[in-house]
Symmetry: C2
Subunit: 220 residues, 2 copies
């Protein structure tokens, strides 16, 4: 009942806090090792809890924990494009990419595992998680660009650019994080504007967006 | 010893021909169903042979057959970019894309399975197959463009464009093969030229290539 009742070596956490703690431990492990090499014991040890406690939160065992960790990482990744919208759109997109590349840098092995899907734990469900995040990221980018209504061509262009962002990040990791992230970011922003310009030749909505972007760049 | 000795209902095939026949049967099935729903019995039935015969050619069972089928499809896909090189480069690239999209059209479900990797049969080995084919395709594109020596930036640009080709093909299938393949092809060629132009701003070799492409387009 007094603050002293809780010793520093034992922390009582609420349900969500405990769940988050277990997910963080799992993510840290999945980020460094392929899922097949991570055991529930590893997760319990890293979180400083017992194996039964992990099971209480994730009765589905490792597969459930893996999917939850994947979803948590994927959500965080998708949120990179959902940031504050100040300044001209190209600068906003650049800041979103800074957040994205910082995430990739911090979670390199986990990011590869997430996107390559090349693990024995990959199922149509884990693919659906990644797919859902990609769609959400595309919507965030359209919001960031203040596009109220995107036609299919513009939406496809944004989705394809996001696959370029993902693939460029994987190649960036493969190449030992070279060139510097800032160069990758600028290249990706320019690639996006170039891709929009191509789509604008056959789509009026995209043409309106590229004109708006060009005008804002002139005013900036 | 006479032609009559072989009846139409029983054909003796050489080792490679039989292997090819089994792969064709497997591909046809994997193209329509997720690998977990395809059994060796299905493959045997479709090829009109016994199950032990399938095992004789693929002692590793379904996983081995799946990987062999994947490799065969992936090889065929990679070869789309390894075609005859006549006419201006953009036209050559357009013809390569015609072959690619025709393959995607013919093998739609198999193509999705191959690239989404979202199957329980996906392993780091199947991913390596897909990865190897992507690298080979990038080399084919550089050859097709008569690039003798590509630096890392140009090579990365080609690889990233190929991921756009793959992702655009998946979206094209998702959208019920709309818009027509010819429109997707033209859009992809223009995207490639636009992507090169961005890279050319920071890479002399890519700049030389874009100048060459522009000159050939003027002469064509």
């Amino acid at each position: 009942m007094t603050p002293q009742a809780a010793t520093p070596s034992y922390r009582r956490l609420g349900v969500e806090a405990r769940r988050g703690q277990l997910l963080d431990a799992a993510l840290a492990l999945f980020a460094r090792h392929p899922p097949e090499d991570v055991s529930l014991d590893d997760v319990a040890r890293r979180a400083g809890v017992s194996r039964p406690l992990v099971y209480r939160y994730f009765p589905g065992g490792k597969q459930q924990l893996y999917e939850a960790a994947l979803r948590s990482a994927a959500d965080e990744l998708g949120l990179c494009f959902d940031g504050p919208g100040q300044g001209p759109p190209a600068a906003r997109l650049g800041r979103a990419l800074d957040r994205y590349l910082a995430f990739v840098d911090r979670n390199d092995a986990g990011f590869s595992a997430l996107l390559r899907g090349g693990s024995v734990a990959a199922t149509s469900r884990t693919c659906a998680i990644v797919d859902g995040v990609r769609r959400a990221a595309a919507e965030h980018v359209l919001t960031l660009l203040e596009v109220a209504e995107a036609g299919p061509r513009l939406r496809t262009t944004v989705r394809l650019w996001l696959t370029t962002v993902e693939a460029a990040s994987l190649i960036w990791l493969d190449e030992g994080k070279r060139p510097p992230a800032a160069e990758v970011r600028d290249w990706l922003v320019e690639q996006f504007l170039a891709a929009l310009t191509v789509t604008a030749r056959r789509d009026a909505r995209t043409a309106a967006l590229t004109e708006m972007l060009a005008a804002e760049a002139r005013d900036a």
